[in-house]
């Protein structure tokens, strides 16, 4: 399935956050980079349905997502991992992960589907959480393990096709970034990943295609190595050149 973003614009009051963004996300991993305030997180919020764009539409699997409420969008196989870690402190790790399977079109789920336990173990194993920790509480986990639980929660449901990651490796050490890289490269084959990140080393290796955004506009899109050479991209990061005045 393919995610199509058509002419999306959005503004907070008078401050334009996104102005007519259009691009397609194909199978595999796509990175989105850009300085602070370039609208990356706003775009992710709009795709996940947390915000409605003032103009434009987002098509996924033959449906216009902008008309759907957030939980309907999630039921269509789109899961999201946000910037600040959102795991429930009162639930065990396996309960947190199993929440990924909760959503379905009906609404109130009274019984777990039979395959829940195996799916949870499989997702936890994929994300590097050994089965001994499954009954632990988030308070007893390290920051890295909490974020991995959240990632496991996003990918546990079999119907997940699109994964939206908002700075998953913020605050990680290099070793931990490598483990996340290996996890994402295995996931790339099964589903589409849209990744917002600051560390360019990491994003270069993971993503097959890279989009650069600045002040709400799409600056350039293409192969990572090629895109990073464009002078325009460097200017967004370092600021426009000044004659020594």
């Amino acid at each position: 399935m393919m995610l199509r973003i058509i002419d999306v614009s959005h503004a907070y009051g008078t401050v334009p956050a996104l102005s007519s963004i259009s691009f397609d996300v194909h199978q595999g991993a796509m990175g989105v980079i850009g300085p602070n305030g370039s609208g990356k997180s706003t775009l992710l919020n709009i795709i996940a349905g947390a915000m409605k764009p003032q103009k434009g539409a987002i098509w996924w699997g033959g449906a216009n997502l902008t008309t759907l409420p957030p939980h309907r969008i999630a039921c269509r196989g789109i899961s999201r991992m946000s910037q600040h870690s959102h795991i429930s402190g009162d639930l065990t790790v396996s309960e947190n992960i199993s929440l990924g399977i909760y959503g379905f079109h009906g609404g109130l789920r009274l019984r777990w589907p039979p395959t829940t336990a195996s799916l949870v173990r499989e997702a936890a194993a994929l994300c590097g959480i050994d089965s001994g920790r499954l009954t632990a509480y988030p308070r007893q986990l390290s920051f890295f393990e909490q974020r991995m639980t959240e990632l496991a929660r996003c990918i546990v449901s079999a119907s997940t096709q699109l994964l939206l990651l908002d700075e998953p490796t913020a605050g990680f050490a290099d070793l931990e970034k490598k483990r996340v890289f290996s996890i994402l490269s295995t996931l790339k084959t099964k589903m589409t990943i849209l990744l917002v990140e600051h560390d360019l080393d990491f994003i270069q290796e993971v993503s097959d295609c890279l989009a650069v955004m600045a002040e709400g506009k799409l600056l350039s899109i293409g192969e990572p190595a090629f895109v990073l050479k464009e002078p325009r991209v460097l200017d967004t990061y370092l600021g426009t050149k000044y004659v020594a005045g």
Binding site: P69, P70, S88, G89, D90, L91, Y102, R109, W112, R139
Partner: protein, 277 residues
């Protein structure tokens, strides 16, 4: 002597039911402040149906259904409001109902609703409390408990997991109101009278205090809160104002020093969280 003890026990059982109803809405992250109205509606409908000849259980069921509908309607009306505005809106619903009840003859005006037949047997409150605890035991296993917990902690994140927040909150409010209305039916048949004061804010507050003081993390909390706060101050029974003073003081102390309530969450690791968490 044992008649006095029996009277306390029935009151404690009814408070447990009320507290469980309040627990249902608090666990969905809602401060629902008009339980008094729901309880009184349930009571009056049950009394009316029972005095018109139908069996007692049918009357209680009718009262419960009426309360559940009232709770659902009030929630739908205020569903767009968030946080303290929701609390204030439901609070004013309760007070409005009290003023209306005070002045309409249908509900017996200032003296309260009187034509009530005595309840056929005294075992009803305990039976219903048992059934409620069994249902909650089953509910503890089902996934909806997890969904309600994550809705209470962070709505935006819950929506991105595919959880229909409005539907879950409506279900919590309707089931909570049903239980509270059942308790209302029991109350009116045990006491034989329902003053208009019960519609208002003090009564709703008392119900909330049972649940908040007990602890809103597991269903055991409200039960223990209700039992403690009805049985313990029995010696204060003679003067309601001393009892209310005791409730108020306990509430303030609990919220500040142990926000997760007496029972607290299963592992007490929720230090420093807020009571409504």
């Amino acid at each position: 002597m044992n008649d006095y003890l029996l009277q306390i026990a029935t009151l404690a059982a009814m408070s447990c039911l009320l507290a469980l109803g309040a627990y249902a809405t608090l666990s969905a992250g809602l401060l629902f402040m008009c339980f008094g109205t729901i309880m009184s509606i349930g009571g009056i409908v049950a009394a009316a149906v029972y005095s018109s000849g139908l069996p007692f259980l049918v009357a209680l069921g009718a009262g419960g259904a009426a309360g559940a509908c009232a709770g659902g309607l009030i929630y739908i009306g205020c569903s767009r409001l968030i946080g303290f505005l929701f609390a204030v809106a439901t609070l004013s619903f309760g007070e409005l109902a009290r003023v209306i009840a005070l002045n309409t003859e249908r509900f017996g005006g200032a003296l309260g609703y009187k034509d009530v037949r005595a309840s056929p047997s005294i075992c009803y409150p305990f039976a219903l409390m048992g059934i409620a605890i069994i249902c909650l035991g089953i509910f503890d296993k089902c996934p909806m408990r997890l969904a309600l917990r994550i809705i209470k902690e962070d709505e935006v994140n819950a929506a991105s997991l595919g959880i229909n927040i409005g539907l879950h909150r409506l279900a919590a409010v309707v089931s909570g109101s049903f239980v509270v209305a059942l308790a209302g039916g029991l109350y009116i048949h045990a006491v034989g009278l329902l003053e208009p004061r019960m519609f208002g804010f003090d009564n709703s507050l008392e119900i909330l205090i049972f649940a908040i003081v007990g602890g809103t993390a597991t269903y055991v909390g409200p039960i223990c809160g209700a039992v403690l706060l009805t049985a313990l101050p029995e010696l204060l029974r003679f003067s309601t104002s001393l009892r209310m003073l005791f409730y108020g003081a306990v509430l303030v102390v609990i919220i500040i020093f142990r926000p997760e309530g007496i029972i607290g969450s299963r592992f007490g690791q929720s230090r420093g969280q807020t009571v409504i968490r």
